[in-house]
Amino acid sequence: MESNNDEALDIIVTNVVATFRTRCHLNLRKIALEGINVIYKPEVGKVLMKLRKPTITASIWSSGKIICTGATSEEEAKLGARRLARCLQKLGFKVRFSAFRVVNVLAVCSMPFAVHLIDFTKNNRPIASYEPELHPAATYRIKNLKATVQVFSTGSLTVTGHGTNTYP
């Protein structure tokens, strides 16, 4: 649990999820036909648009809500979201970039040691929970940070939490 060693632990942010709104109704079919790098999923009712520059995949709903995933940092997420909005604007929609919010940041880390999950859970009874039948990792929730750490028996951790500039 403690990592007081001199070795630095590399914690890498691998995924940032953000949402924003365009404040206008979007015609998914038009986006699917005229947009570039788009995947239309009519069964679900959304369009996926992939950007290359910040590598971002955005799910676009007709209500104007857009979820941006795949960015590696919050700034990148914002930049990608704006680019995306710009794309939609060029397609002809009256897009207004609003309510940008980073919903989730995922980071990955690895301990140099293995973790015995049962004992770990016992020692951190209220905070940690482990249900091997449901998920192979123990879930450790840090309330004040509103973050969740998933501990695997190999020593790998994934940390998910809010972004630094989340809006209420």
Binding site: I36, R86, C87, Q89, R96
Partner: protein, 444 residues
């Protein structure tokens, strides 16, 4: 009918037929003459030929063996130099068994040069020569076949081909003996080798069945290179005529090595005569094809004279089938600029609306009235084009290669795509292809 029978061509023609047929009634009902319909059909076909003909002809000339020429048996010295004759279209036969040097889906037809053909004969590229003995030589470069002077024995060499020599089918050899004219003495290396060398790079002996009804093929015999002359069933009549210009670079290059002997030329000249005939024949065929595209006809006719490698260069593609990337690239920016102007205006208007409503609260015009916090974050200035520039990459590779088809399954994993397509037609590199199934993979 009008085309070389590529599968695509066949399909297109059948489509044209169907459409025209089904339109006939309508046209008649409207009171239009049949002639109009015929005109339409011809126009359609010619346009199709024009764009697609390129590929077919090009493909043919470059790759395949269209036909097999049989050089005529008889020959008179007197006739030499005269008429690189009118091409003779002898009823074609299918060559059942020929080994194409390159991919060739078409069964080559066989023509036989007239008995009275005068050498030298020019043979265009892409032709397979069949000698009297039944051996086939695939000609990939234009050559000239000439006749050996009297009394010379065929000395042939195709060292690598020697083992493949097939013995003449019965009918052929019969033609051979009675032509003393054609026999010539074992040439010193140069003479036959020149013939051989000129076509050496491309000649391939092909086993083939005899074509019984053909007038006995001309004897194109090549003597052994080395003095060991065998009485080859192949005879080449070689004239002493100066080789026509058809002797082309490759030939002449090799000829230079052997050029001392006149006879070498002569052999070439025979071939050249054949080439010439074929060229004229091909030209006629193309004119028959009624292609409006002049360059296809003339170019191709001329092409035959050119070096093999130039053939593909010469054929031009114009009109619908060209790639106009530069044009497209140019087009894109202006469009964007116009659009930018539009967006700007809109964005500005939008901005003004909002600002008017006092940053804190969303005006009633907005949808989510309850979400007041959202209003705080009206980061609207999408600075059109400024910092929020759109993707730079997009239309980099806007090509004219198009596939129109149906899909069975399209699958993606991360950025790897897999396509299972069916029943499609595609235009790729200016050529049309048709498929009933296609599988593709791509990375994004």
């Amino acid at each position: 009918m009008l085309t070389n029978s590529g599968p695509v061509a066949k399909l297109y023609l059948s489509i044209i037929d169907d459409v025209i047929e089904s339109m006939k009634e309508l046209f008649l009902d409207e009171g239009l003459e049949d002639r109009v319909l015929d005109d339409l059909r011809h126009l359609w076909e010619s346009k199709m030929m024009q764009s697609k003909a390129m590929e077919d002809f090009r493909k043919n000339n470059v790759n395949s063996t269209n036909f097999v020429l049989q050089l005529p048996v008889s020959y008179t010295q007197a006739d030499r130099n005269q008429d690189l004759a009118a091409p003779v279209m002898i009823p074609t036969t299918q060559n059942i068994h020929s080994l194409p040097v390159k991919n060739n889906t078409k069964t080559p037809a066989t023509f036989s040069l007239p008995a009275a053909l005068a050498y030298p004969v020019q043979i265009p590229a892409g032709v397979t020569l069949q000698t009297a003995s039944g051996q086939l030589y695939k000609v990939n470069v234009p050559v000239v076949v000439t006749q050996a002077p009297v009394g010379q024995q065929p000395a042939s060499h195709l060292s690598k081909k020697v083992p493949e020599r097939s013995k003449v089918p019965a009918s052929q050899p019969a033609a051979i003996p009675p032509n003393p004219v054609l026999l010539h003495e074992p040439e010193p290396s140069s003479a036959p080798s020149s013939v051989i060398t000129q076509t050496r790079t491309s000649l391939a002996l092909i086993q083939e069945n005899s074509l019984p009804h053909e007038p006995p093929g001309a004897e194109v015999t090549l003597g052994e290179n080395e003095a060991n002359s065998q009485p080859e069933p192949l005879n080449i009549g070689v004239t002493a005529s100066p080789c026509p210009q058809f002797l082309d670079f490759q030939i002449s290059a090799e000829e230079a090595a052997f050029a001392q002997k006149k006879h070498s030329r002569d052999i070439d000249e025979i071939l050249k005569e054949v080439i010439e005939e074929e060229r004229v024949k091909a030209k006629r065929a193309r004119k028959l094809a009624g292609n409006a595209g002049n360059h296809s006809g003339t170019d191709l006719g001329l092409d035959l004279d050119y070096a093999y490698s130039e053939l593909s260069d010469i054929v031009q593609m114009d009109g619908p089938a060209d790639n106009s990337d530069p044009e497209q690239d140019e087009e894109v920016p202006p469009e964007e600029n116009d659009f930018l102007g539009l967006i700007n205006a809109e964005a500005i208007r939008a901005l003004q609306e909002e600002n008017g409503s006092d940053g804190n609260s969303i005006s009633s015009s907005s949808d989510d009235g309850g979400a007041d916090e959202l209003s705080n974050v009206e980061e609207d200035p999408l600075n059109s084009g400024d910092d929020v520039v759109e993707q730079d990459i997009p239309d980099l590779f806007d090509t004219d290669n198009v596939i129109v088809c149906q899909y069975d399954k399209i699958h993606r994993s991360k950025n790897r795509w897999k396509f299972h397509l069916k029943d499609g037609v595609m235009s790729y590199g200016g050529r049309d292809y048709v498929f009933s199934k296609a599988i593709g993979e791509a990375e994004w």
